[in-house]
């Protein structure tokens, strides 16, 4: 049979690898900065663009989509060509993919500090960038499927299945979660409201972890770990079961992010059950990875690549046991909204993704530059700094999470809250925040050492942009027989459709009932749409990323209804919330019942200098809200957009909305004046106060009416 000569494209792998290292450094540096701000708020330099609420999304986006994303593409482009014995389908598409992705990252790095955000976690980027992501992702998909179609290897290795699942699922997740109605060029409102928005967001958020941080890396594990250990994967049969059960189960588990919230109970239980089931495929994968090293453990002592990979797979095992445990309702009651979750995601992020990437880079760079690693010793130092860094990061965060949660829930003998002031529970854990930053610094130092090591390695070798290979073309003859799965492996398009079906079933079963219900539920009569001024205030709340530290979800626990002075949050209260702002972390107290809890001047002083009303507070001051003004010219557009997505503003209301806005603003400024505080009606702080005073008050109106 005639052999075909072809060349592998190493240059695209090199590009993505360089971007990985650069954005790893930037993303972790931003992480270090926000970690430090939690005990040294002044580190925001007093300007909006570097304040926690705005750059926390920058950190998460940078490490997920820039660092891990670029690494995934580097790993995929290298391994896919070789596993399929084919060059990438189109060089043009490869480079459109590369530069397009970097442009998206650049757009994120500009817009997020400017406060242009949708507020939905890991999906903060505004609508034009969402469209760009969709296009570039499709380019990646075409390039990948194209390569699969022109392959010279009949069967697709398990790594390729994981890549296919990644492409298909991330596309579905991104499109569904990004339904939004544009208001201006960089402002949009989520198509969904309240409970539905929360469900869609956490179906997305959870599966972004699954299909952006997990499945592509399992694919990489199945390629690079055998490669580095020079022995086949422990059990290929296990990998088949691992793949199908993982992608099938993962998609269902999203609601575990919403336990004890206003999400319907059956959906919460569904999330819990499937989360527990996830232990099986996750650990199947982990064991398959670790057992690949059976009989080669002596090499783990010497080879830094294997060291990193062993810790990565172990971290994966720990994080995927912890995740299901956190999905059990009574564990979740303690851990949710606390730093425990921060510890959990960093074991996954720093351990699994980070170490897998480092191992891969230490293997790839010498290989592609045709040389040996410049310094094995430096790589070992990196390994130990990284490992220590993870421990010094995670342990204080676990402690902080449990300590704070127990303090929140603690009652004294008289039946009152032991720590009624939220701030007491914060100052208690500030030392842990300091230790966490040290852990992060250790990890970061390791990354810098790696960067130097890799640059030196590249310098001492010579880069092979094109690698020649030979293989026979795939025969066109029709092959019949074989088991059904091996038949599937020969049919990539069919396989892709099956993957799509597997992941769509979960999403549909989760979401359809909740969506059908919308038309059936009577809304709470007293819950009204936001006033124009409150809308402006809410958009400021979103712009400043207040939801990064404050939840708006009082869970049905006595410790919470006591602390937050009111009823627990009800589904019907959020029907006009486009987007929902439940939050996922309480660095500060919950705000759902903050309306009416303090007077206007308290809010005024608190936003100007939080420590003036709350001594010891780690919240940064927001002086710019007092100088900048809202733009009443946007009011009509906001109202029209919200009406389109179902908020019942009367026809023509947008024409008179600004009268209403000024009237409400004046009532606030006059109230402030009575306390000797002067501010113009259009100052941003006035709008924000209006929004905060409205929060959670609608059902108070109802109970007052019922009492009459």
């Amino acid at each position: 049979m005639e052999l075909e000569k072809f060349k592998y494209d190493n240059k695209i792998v090199k590009y993505f690898a360089i971007a990985t290292v650069i954005f790893g450094i930037i993303g972790m540096l931003v992480g270090l900065m926000i970690a430090t701000q939690l005990f040294l708020p002044q580190l925001n330099l007093g300007i909006p663009y570097t304040t926690f609420g705005r750059i926390r999304p920058l950190h998460t986006n940078a490490v997920i989509f820039a660092f891990v994303g670029n690494a995934m593409f580097a790993g995929v482009y290298y391994s896919m060509q070789r596993l399929l014995k084919a060059r990438m389908f189109s060089d043009t598409l490869s480079y459109i993919h590369f530069w397009g992705w970097q442009l998206i990252i650049l757009a994120a790095a500009i817009t997020l500090p400017l406060g242009l955000t949708t507020s939905k976690e890991y999906a903060e980027l505004e609508w034009p960038i969402d469209i760009a992501i969709t296009i570039i992702w499709v380019v990646f998909g075409i390039n990948m499927i194209g390569t699969i179609l022109k392959r010279r290897e009949r069967h697709m290795y398990v790594a390729i299945w994981f890549y296919i699942a990644t492409f298909v699922t991330v596309a579905v997740l991104h499109v569904v979660n990004s339904f939004e109605i544009p208001v201006t060029m960089f402002k949009s409102y989520s198509w969904y409201a309240g409970v539905q928005d929360a469900l869609v967001q956490w179906w997305y958020g959870h599966n972004a972890v699954a299909f952006f941080l997990t499945t592509p890396f399992l694919g990489l594990m199945y390629y690079y770990l055998p490669k580095a250990a020079n022995r086949p994967v422990y059990s290929y049969k296990l990998s088949i079961i691992h793949f199908w059960s993982l992608i099938f189960i993962y998609i269902w588990a999203g609601p575990h992010h919403l336990l004890y919230t206003s999400l319907p109970n059956w959906a919460q239980s569904l999330g819990t059950v499937f989360s527990i089931m996830l232990i099986a495929p996750s650990w199947g994968g982990m064991l398959n990875g670790l057992l690949t090293l059976r009989g080669a453990w002596d090499r783990v002592r010497e080879d830094p690549v294997l060291k990193f990979m062993v810790v990565a797979v172990t971290a994966y095992g720990m994080a995927t046991l912890e995740g299901p445990l956190l999905s059990i309702k009574n564990v979740n009651a303690i851990a949710h909204f606390t730093d425990w979750i921060i510890a959990h995601v960093h074991v996954g992020g720093l351990g699994w993704n980070g170490f897998m990437i480092f191992g891969m880079l230490y293997w790839l760079v010498p290989k592609m530059w045709g040389t040996k690693l410049w310094s094995t010793k430096a790589a070992n130092i990196h390994f130990w700094l990284g490992t220590l860094g993870i421990i010094v990061y995670a342990l204080p965060m676990y402690t902080a999470g449990v300590v704070q949660s127990l303090m929140w829930k603690s009652f004294n003998a008289e039946g009152f809250l032991e720590y009624p002031n939220f701030l007491e529970t914060v100052t208690q854990i500030v030392p842990m925040y300091m230790m966490r930053a040290i852990g992060g610094l250790l990890y970061f130092t390791g990354v810098i050492i790696m960067a130097v090591n890799l640059v030196r390695t590249a310098k001492q070798g010579s880069f092979k942009a094109e690698e020649t290979a030979e293989a026979p073309a795939l025969e066109k003859k029709r092959i019949v027989g074989g088991h059904w799965h091996s038949r599937w492996e020969r049919k990539p398009v069919f396989f892709t459709v099956l993957v799509l079906i597997a992941i769509v079933i979960g999403g549909v079963v989760e979401m359809v009932p909740t969506f059908l219900i919308k038309s059936n539920i009577p809304t709470i009569a007293s819950v009204k749409p936001y006033t124009p001024l409150e809308l402006h205030g809410r958009d400021i709340y979103i712009r400043e990323g207040c939801n990064n530290c404050h939840s708006q979800m009082v869970r049905p626990f006595r410790s919470e209804t006591e602390r937050y002075r009111g009823e627990y949050s009800k589904a019907g209260e959020f029907v006009y919330d486009h987007p929902f702002l439940w939050g996922s972390k309480r660095t500060g107290p919950d705000l759902h019942r903050v309306g009416g809890a303090y007077n206007n001047v308290w809010h005024f002083n608190h936003m100007l200098d939080p420590t003036s009303t709350s001594p010891g507070s780690i919240m940064p001051p927001y002086p710019w809200l007092f100088e900048d003004e809202i733009n009443p010219g946007l009011t009509a557009g906001k109202i029209k957009a919200l009406r389109t997505v179902g908020v019942p503003y009367a026809e023509g209301f947008e024409d008179v909305a600004n009268d209403d806005l000024m009237k409400q603003a004046r009532s606030i400024t006059e109230d402030l004046k009575a306390s000797n505080v002067e501010i113009i009606e259009t100052a941003e702080i006035v709008a924000l106060i209006a929004y905060l005073q409205r929060l959670g008050t609608d059902i108070k109106v109802e109970s007052t009416n019922q009492n009459q």
């Binding site: 014995k85 049969k237 319907p264």
Partner: protein
């Protein structure tokens, strides 16, 4: 009053039951298949990442072994 919202949809419980059934059946089928799988095929698949691609030497050797079902 509002806690009954979601109970108004009839037979909401059928959804999770359907989902569990679908998964269970699929998983059993998958397990049976994996147990019956052909050994030669497995060996061919698990060797794939180990093929040396340097200048195509080993890919020639490997390609001789791949003409099976």
């Amino acid at each position: 009053m509002f806690k009954h919202y979601f109970e108004q949809v009839e037979n909401v419980a059928i959804w999770p039951i359907i989902s569990l059934t679908i998964f269970f059946v699929f998983f059993i089928g998958l397990t049976i298949y994996v147990m019956k799988i052909n050994k030669g095929h497995i060996q061919h698949m698990e060797k794939m990442p180990l093929v040396q691609d340097q200048e195509g030497f080993n890919s020639i050797i490997d390609s001789k072994n791949q003409n099976h079902g």
